[in-house]
Amino acid sequence: MTVQVLFFASLREAANTRELHLSLDSPVSARALANQLENEHVGLELRGALCAINEHYVHPDTLLSEGDTVAFFPPVSGG
């Protein structure tokens, strides 16, 4: 299955990209995907990050589905 991954703010800088398109072999959780991304991107540290799937906050154990947009970002500081 394919998913789109987005990074923001300091995680965008650490990943050195804003957006990835990935093919995954089997259903994985946001947390498992995060672990895979940390292994593939030296310096990317996702511990403490928030995850959203399709623009909604999710628990890291949520499983991804085909076509999902998964975003990883630091705790928010808007306003």
Binding site: F8, G48, E55, V76, G78
Partner: protein, 148 residues
């Protein structure tokens, strides 16, 4: 009675607070309240040169809908504007605005109070603050969901 409307704005243009107040004002609702957050300087003792606001625009709008639904479930509101500016802002410029009308003055004011608290929890926006001594991502808030 007019249909209550939600207006969501995410923009790198100057926020048009006056326009938002005009949008929500309606003879059917006697109260209009607003909250505007502006770039503060000095902050933590240092003069701020500017703040770069980065946002996940599509998700900001989705979360503004979540906020509006929450507010309307609890409060009797007329029209509601939720607006967040992105990009580079100088001290004193408005970064966020919440404007609500209501038949009840308390509800209009509570929409602003609850609204700004929820905006700081929910809206995916990050501040990169630049002062003469340092450039830093402002430490954020993770109360919207369980972090990794």
């Amino acid at each position: 009675m007019p249909e209550p409307k939600n207006i969501f704005v995410v923009s790198s243009e100057v926020l048009d607070i006056t326009g938002y107040m005009t949008e929500v004002t309606d003879p059917a609702y006697g109260a209009v309240a607003s909250f505007v957050g502006t770039v503060r300087s000095p902050n933590l003792g240092e003069d701020v040169l500017y703040i770069d606001y980065e946002g996940y625009e599509a998700m900001i709008k989705t979360q503004m809908q979540v906020m509006a639904d929450e507010l309307r479930a609890r409060l009797e509101l007329g029209h509601l504007v939720l607006a967040h500016r992105l990009g580079r802002l100088a001290p004193g410029e408005a970064s966020i605005a919440i404007v609500a009308s209501s038949k009840h003055r308390k509800d209009a004011l509570l929409a602003c109070q609850t609204g700004i608290d929820r905006a700081k929890d929910l809206l995916p926006v990050w501040k990169y603050e630049v002062n003469p001594k340092s450039k830093t991502w402002v430490k954020g808030n993770s109360s919207a969901s369980t972090p990794l």
